[in-house]
Symmetry: C2
Subunit: 408 residues, 2 copies
């Protein structure tokens, strides 16, 4: 991994072991690099699965197969290839994925639609079948590895491995969630984004797990952006092994369902924030809280317009309290807004209200806030009760450096 | 002006004098700079006017007043302030504009709604009334100036003055069009963008001039983007003095109307391309031609999704034939597309067809094309007859440098 993001946490968190999940990694050498790039999570029989995938129309074969698999609702294996996304590779790409699935079904004695495959990396180059074949042979006999090793193996341009955990008490049983994610650029989720995997020993029926994951995604992955670009491969999957022994959750009427939903929300938000903290070239983590919109959806779109504005993001990079650019971004969002009711704040300091700068505006505390690494922006539209919070990073020379020569 | 864009034309074009138009410039010192920043175009009685303005909801008072003025359809004066956009300044900003209008109506003996005012620069700082007052006093007694001097005076972060010309024969009379424009960043027009002014000696009724300008805008200003950010002040105005002596044009049935419309289209496209060639930090001029879409509107939205993708723009900056990022951008556009019918080309070389790389793909000629300064990308969706062409520039370290410390 290249030099670590200045926004990275101090260390990888101590994740819970999840009974029913075994992780293994190997070197398939999808790229010329000195690291593992193939991850295999073996899942016990009876594991429920739910997932959300990219809204990008040009999605990969892996994403299409994942969507098909989710109809069944159970999973036995997850394979993640790093270094090649296998997207836009047509029949050649599908052949490589089929080969992996065939080998895994033979190894585990499971059905083809219980094997989940994800790939991440360059678009348009077919995943090499020979490397996938040799890689699978190696990974199934590899010794089990740690969460941190698996998190590092699914990464590409990430500068640090990302993990999150949570717990909940469900029907008198403590259930644990452990999760890993990769993502740094091409981050602008619509239905979902990036490669993220959440494992829990809770017993949860697939349909309810899907309902909870979709709800959590709306408040986490769908509220972040690094560069407004939506990946062709993005996938978030949740696996529930049921080994905690709680009575299986099937709806919000079940004891502990609320606690489990809160834990899942918590893990998803942690993962989403970690991706922003590793945004390509990021030097600032930016929260944008929008209030007073005509609806929550409208507030979300206004927030994303601010979060995706190159002029806002470069101003923050320059630690410049140029709040006029926030006004501009709100105005271009295409959502109901009234210039003369609009108010803008940095941290808890209102800089503009009712259509112009506040009379007593003192830039000193705002400038001090902008020198920090965590920036808080508030936008109040003064129209209704709609609200949303979104997160992004600044736009720096680092983003240009990383992406002007990523493939070469 | 800072160092000239590598994409700038060799020299400012020799624009026609337009009878009925007199240009003057002065120093209002809206910023601490050693240059003129106030432009005054005096227009003869009977001048028709048409205009298009920003779709940004947080528009400036100048834009609101311009929209109101256009109902009248005649103009006697244009004032352009550079260095301060006066946007989001509430009643304080409106007072400064009213002062300018009052002084001009007294000077020219015209109506208030025949005076057009535009301002460009930082958002959120009221235009200082004392400076505007002194500036107007100076500019009305200044000696007439050239088109190039006026083009330089309306500029802000532009690196070169921008002008365009065209001619047409209308009812046996030769009519001329001369036009200037400023714009470099915060460029993502919806209804129109930037500050652009077109002057012609043709006689054209206001309603028809408006119809023609709106049509030209759809094919020019609305087809360019530098950074996806839509300005709060953007305005394009066309003034027709009628001094060429042709029978006034009122519709396409009039002799010469087609020729005049073509000349206006030509000038608008020239102006739009000049703005892209001066895009902040630009090192490449990029044309994206979309064909095979379900409609022209859909093709336009796909083209703009590619043109606004930071990952596509940084790849071009790096001269990297990473066409997978174009696939990604097409797929995220939210428009009808079929991955397995999609084809992508650079210049005349198809690199991907029917959902994967072409069998004979040779990167050498594509790499050579990408080393040039004018890049041509083609996207064929294979679905219908819809087509559109849009233009943008690459995303470089220069954009970050300019915008991370613009205001400070």
């Amino acid at each position: 991994m290249s030099s670590k993001s200045p926004l990275a946490p101090d260390h990888f968190p101590a994740l819970h072991d999840i009974e029913g999940v075994t992780l293994r990694i190997a070197r398939a050498q999808y790229k010329q690099w000195d690291r593992c790039d193939l991850t295999f999570a073996q899942l016990c029989e009876g594991t429920s699965v739910a997932g959300v995938t990219t809204s990008n129309i040009c999605c990969s074969s892996e994403v299409e197969m994942t969507r098909d698999n989710l109809k069944k609702g159970t999973a036995r294996a997850l394979i993640v290839n790093a270094g090649n996304s296998n997207a836009f590779t047509g029949f050649r790409g599908r052949e490589a994925v089929q080969l992996i699935i065939d080998k895994m079904t033979a190894h585990l004695g499971c059905d083809a639609d219980e094997v989940y495959v994800s790939s991440t990396g360059v678009i348009g180059v077919p995943l090499p079948k020979d490397k996938a074949n040799a890689g699978i042979d190696k990974v199934i006999i590899a010794a089990p590895c740690s969460w941190e090793e698996a998190a590092a193996t699914i990464a590409t341009t990430d500068t640090f491995p990302k993990g999150a955990r949570a717990s909940a008490v469900v029907g008198g049983k403590t259930v644990n969630l452990s999760a890993i994610i990769k993502g740094s650029g091409m981050i602008a989720p619509d239905m979902a984004t990036m490669l993220g995997y959440i494992f829990t020993d809770a017993a949860v029926k697939p349909a309810f797990l899907q309902q909870l994951l979709s709800a959590a995604t709306r408040k986490s992955f769908n509220c972040i952006t690094v560069d407004s670009d939506t990946s062709t491969s993005d996938t978030v999957l949740a696996f529930a092994t049921g080994k905690a022994g709680n009575a299986p959750l099937a709806g919000f009427d079940d004891a502990g369902a609320d606690a489990f939903a809160a834990a899942l929300d918590d893990v998803c938000l942690q993962l989403a924030h970690l991706v922003v903290r590793d945004g390509e070239g990021a030097s600032k983590f930016i929260e944008i809280a929008v209030t007073g919109a005509v609806s929550d959806e409208s507030a979300h779109r206004v927030g994303m317009a601010v979060a995706n504005s190159p002029l806002v993001k470069t101003a923050i990079a320059g630690e410049d309290a140029n709040w006029g650019r926030i006004v501009m971004a709100v105005g271009k969002a295409g959502e109901p807004a009234d210039r003369d009711k609009l108010a803008i704040r940095f941290a808890d300091k209102w800089v503009a209200q009712a259509g112009l700068a506040v009379d007593s505006y003192d830039e000193a505390p705002v400038a001090a806030h902008l020198k920090g690494s965590d920036i808080s922006i508030g936008v109040d539209l003064g129209l209704g009760d709609g609200r949303a919070t979104v997160w992004t990073c600044d736009l720096t020379h680092g983003y240009i450096s990383i992406n002007a020569d990523y493939r070469s």
